[in-house]
Symmetry: C2
DNA sequence: AAAATTATCGCCAGAATTGGCGATGTTCAA
DNA sequence: TTGAACATCGCCAATTCTGGCGATAATTTT
């Protein structure tokens, strides 16, 4: 069974050549093409393609938004973004919106076909450099503003329990020390983090222990 | 100039074949080999290889830890993890520790060489399926259990300020209502979120507004 | 029209937190 | 060896939160 592909691309020439490539390759067939996000949102769901190639730069609703709305209706369809942008923000937004692959428009035809097969086969096609950007996300070693770095092991432990909503007394029990000691640790924590309440300390803590990448501002929303 | 490679692999046979592959290929040269993390940590830094192939499963200190300690000393060296494990936890831990590539041991020789070149060239080599796992990280949708959905607009507003560490009185001023009203809103918030303190409410709030992926437990440390 | 939800206000008392000030002992680096 | 950072303990008072109980009014839903 060949892989069914939908194409969303506003440039008629590019779109035509994509259709030609897909339909001209055995094992692939183009089942729909769309010049803008709006029509894509209307017409793609009934078609249920295996894969969608989505230009990221559409007039009107952009490709990222289009994916965001399309994906919930078509969880089985894998979306590959096509773009000229290689910047981190775009990449993350697209992936967060539900895209599975991310290719540059300059990708040669054979690779594009390989990517379509790959994404259909459980992979996430992307250029090597884009992969690196994503990997770097995991490495951003919460570098600078980590007031928490200066927390002693014991203090960090207290903060962890504080974040779970434990009472001072419960923390004391959990750590086998007295209430007074917990109290003192917490005072030191507040000093070091420059906060004045449990809530602020926890907020700071959660924003820093955040296990994962916090790539770009873009992500915060 | 050929790419210098260090190899860390405890199985002598596998290590030997890797060395043979590297040294037998033009454009690559193996500059050191190590049977365990400890000797790797001692011997690799002076060598400053372009690329290090690191078995993830070493006796003693494991490969991930080895990378974590090596990378700060050798920011220019790109590390590719070699492993039989394909599970998410290992992948994330390795990347977070500073690895740039992640390949399965079953990777064919030519691909391994291509990966070494790729990582040296600014890429992040990894199998298509591993890439997918990483991408999925960015897609983990704000989970369903959003008790916050039932919060009224006003309550949500209060919670937001609560999360910033505002005192009841400050929230009252900010919202131009009385302390009593804030107090009531907060009581309702606690009921709806099933929490008993400001800290718990804020923790819940932050964990849900969190724009980004929160991959695995593994990440929490 | 009755009921539920939301937003607003109030009192009171117990519980928890915060902060000021001080103390002892250990460990580790200068 | 002297100081700095850490972990431990203590007292006391002021502030802040939490929860129980109740109330009015507007809006929305049923």
């Amino acid at each position: 069974m060949s892989i069914s592909v939908s194409i969303v691309e506003d440039d008629p020439a590019v779109r035509a050549s994509l259709v030609k490539l897909i339909d001209g390759s055995p094992g692939y067939r183009c089942v729909s093409q769309h010049a803008d996000a709006e029509s894509a949102l209307r017409e793609i769901p009934p078609v249920k393609p295996d894969v969608a190639l989505m230009d990221i730069n559409l007039s009107g609703l952009n490709g990222v938004e289009c994916v965001r709305r399309l994906k919930p209706q078509l969880p089985g369809t894998q979306v590959i973004m096509l773009t000229v942008y290689q910047n981190t923000e775009h990449i993350f937004n697209a992936l967060a919106a539900g895209a599975t692959g991310y290719l540059l428009k300059q990708t040669p035809p054979e690779e594009l076909l390989a990517a379509i097969r790959s994404v259909h086969d459980g992979g996430s096609p992307m250029s090597s450099h884009i992969a690196r950007k994503i990997v770097q996300c995991f490495q951003q070693p919460a570098p600078p503003v980590n007031g928490a770095q200066s927390l002693s092991p014991r203090e960090a432990e207290v903060l962890g329990l504080l974040a779970k909503g434990y009472l001072y007394k419960e923390i004391a029990d959990a750590m086998s020390v007295t209430y007074a000691t917990v109290h003192t640790h917490i005072r030191h924590i507040y000093e070091k983090l420059h906060v004045r309440s449990r809530t602020e300390a926890v907020a700071k803590h959660l924003s820093q222990t955040r296990s994962l990448p916090r790539p770009a501002k873009a992500f915060r929303l």
